[in-house]
């Protein structure tokens, strides 16, 4: 009897203590683009260091489309997107705030160190019109082209299509779709005939191909010479309010910490 009573009392006490504590446990939930993820994680850690009283924002992935729809639905406080808003496709009432810019490179295997691809070659390869490496000027190998694409939800894929292929052309549907920059990088680095595209940060171990005569690196992107640069957005349902507003204001304020973080591998816009 005594055991039962002590057990019940301790459970009740624990619950009584836990419930109000749970009510206070609010956290900024951020999610979406896997390209923005490394930047968002660094910003969240720095934000927590700057304001230790607040719990650190929770940063997740899921790719850009999930970030946008999640923000619209309310599962995220802030959604990350690495593609520009598309009228008619994105839900209404969303506010996009630009936080940084990022470069996308065409990547090939290191056995095929192409230094540059023209607009025509890029269009031909990625739409599937050119199917063999022998038809690509500057290629060192022959054989069929293994095309690597990103998953449909990827913002990087959207950005790549808009910037490199324009509004009408689409990437060939027979390409293998990878669900992250890392998988894309891995796939291209292990296949001699491979070609794909990835964010700047994921060009280790593969050959980053120049675009229209300009090498794909951070310096060229910052100077504006390299054309393949896209925006990183933080998306909120309506105008940012409360904690989300505080975070976004801090990120876009251009203070020394955020500047340092963003300039390390991305291009600052504030």
């Amino acid at each position: 009897m005594r055991v039962y009573r002590t057990l019940i009392v301790s459970i009740v006490v624990a619950l009584v203590l836990a419930v109000p504590a749970g009510a206070l446990a609010k956290r900024l939930i951020i999610g979406g683009s896997t390209s923005v993820l490394p930047l968002a994680q660094k910003l969240a850690t720095a934000y927590h260091q700057a304001y230790p009283k607040l719990s650190a924002p929770k940063v997740g992935g899921g790719q850009s489309d999930i970030g946008i729809s999640g923000a619209a639905k309310g599962s995220f406080d802030i959604g990350d997107s690495s593609r520009d808003p598309i009228k008619g496709v994105d839900p209404h009432g969303l506010v996009f705030t630009k936080v940084a810019r990022d470069g996308v490179c065409v990547i090939t295997n290191q056995a095929n160190p192409i230094s540059n691809l023209s607009q025509e070659s890029v269009e031909g390869i990625f739409t599937g019109r050119i199917r063999d490496w022998s038809s690509v000027p500057g290629s060192r190998i022959t054989g069929p082209i293994d095309l690597f694409d990103r998953d449909g939800a990827s913002g990087t894929q959207d950005a790549f299509q808009h910037i490199f292929l324009g509004e009408t052309l689409k990437i060939s549907p027979t390409a293998t779709a990878e669900t992250s920059n890392g998988l894309e990088q891995n796939a291209v680095s292990s296949d001699k005939q491979a070609v794909g595209f990835a964010s700047f940060a994921y060009t280790a171990g593969v050959n980053a191909v120049g675009y229209q005569g300009v090498a794909c690196n951070l310096r060229n992107a910052k100077s504006g010479q390299y054309g393949g640069v896209r925006n990183f957005w933080m998306v909120t349902r309506g105008v940012p309010k409360g904690e989300a507003l505080k975070f976004i204001k801090w990120v876009t304020s251009g203070n020394a910490t955020t500047k340092r973080i963003i300039n390390s591998s991305w291009i600052a816009v504030h």
């Binding site: 504590a21 446990a25 992250s180």
Partner: protein
């Protein structure tokens, strides 16, 4: 013929007939024999290959500092941070899972074995446990998300500022993990209870003890090694699971407590374990550093090896069981209450 043998002299010494060698078998049987050898040795070579491969990669990428440092977000993961948080996360989730699964599992096993009335209900519970054992862990994970994202369970995890409950925390992950370990504990305990001789129970009843006391004081202490091995098997299953962690623990880099309260904050916060850390650092995730993935996978493998050795050790205590049973039966006599 005996007569003939007696006239011919002493019998030759008794010897075992020579076993027919494999060479005398028909071709198909010989082929099968060779195939068995090849498969057996091949399977062991594959295991050895996997362990050696992980050993090589792990030792080349593992640094002692990684055990102490926390993971830090960086694009160049090879130079930054370690996996102290994931290790703590693994321990925490396993502890919560086992703390729930072990007593619950033993209680259910005791009920099934010693009471089990009405019979239909007992069969239903057995089928439910069997089904639980066969459910894929992803399905358990999406079920867990469904349950813990409800508003009234918000105290177990965190809320976003717009009010949605995330349902992701150590407590929720631990609870779902306990469902993974439960069938194993119940199976081990039940098998052990079934193997206990009836005379143990009869002796206790003869002394006037109730069934409840018999279970608590006599039966359960006797099956302690089996419960232990069931628990260790459950731990192995919990430690190796990735799907539930990625979906329900949030798989954030560091263990992030939800509030400032010391223990409760960590429990309701998100974090990662070794498995989600390996997944995130592999090319499938976003961590982009296979060196860290190999190092963490190596540590994971060592933990699993240690657990396996523990199970073998616990299981080898069988011959002593008879002795212990006799001791326990004797100990019943002077004990009065």
């Amino acid at each position: 013929m005996a007569v003939g043998a007696a006239t011919r002299g002493a019998m030759p010494p008794l010897s075992h007939p020579r076993r027919a060698s494999v060479r005398s078998w028909p071709f198909v049987d010989r082929a099968a024999y060779v195939l068995c050898w090849v498969t057996g040795i091949g399977l062991s070579l594959i295991t050895a290959g996997i362990v050696l491969f992980m050993l090589l990669k792990g030792v080349s990428y593992l640094q002692l500092g990684q055990f102490i440092h926390s993971p830090s977000p960086s694009l160049h993961q090879t130079q930054s941070g370690g996996f102290s948080d994931p290790i703590v996360g693994t321990l925490l989730v396993t502890a919560i899972g086992i703390v729930i699964a072990a007593p619950l599992g033993v209680a259910i096993a005791a009920w099934l074995s010693e009471y089990g009335r009405p019979a239909g209900l007992a069969r239903a519970v057995e089928s439910a446990l069997e089904m639980l054992a066969g459910v894929p862990s992803v399905v358990l994970a999406i079920f867990g998300l469904l349950i813990f994202a409800q508003g009234f369970l918000a105290f177990m995890s965190q809320r976003a500022f717009n009010g949605t409950v995330t349902g992701q925390s150590f407590i929720t992950a631990g609870i779902v993990m306990s469902l993974l370990a439960l069938p194993l504990v119940v199976a081990a305990a039940r098998e052990a209870l079934a193997q206990l001789p009836d005379r143990l129970r009869e002796a206790s009843y003869a002394l006037g003890k109730t069934r409840a006391t018999t279970i608590w004081r006599v039966l359960l202490p006797s099956i302690r090694p089996s419960i232990a091995s069931g628990v260790v098997l459950g731990m192995g299953r919990i430690i190796g699971d990735t799907a539930i962690i990625t979906l329900i623990l949030g798989a954030t880099l560091k263990n992030e407590p939800a509030t400032g309260t010391p223990i409760l904050g960590t429990l309701t916060g998100t974090g990662s374990t070794l498995t989600s850390y390996v997944f995130n650092n592999s090319p499938a995730g976003e961590g982009n550093s296979h060196e860290k993935a190999y190092a963490a996978a190596f540590v994971l493998l060592m933990i699993v090896l240690a657990l396996n050795a523990l199970v073998t050790l616990l299981a080898s205590g069988r011959p002593q069981r008879e002795r212990k049973l006799r001791q326990r039966a004797l100990a019943l006599v002077p004990w009065t209450r």
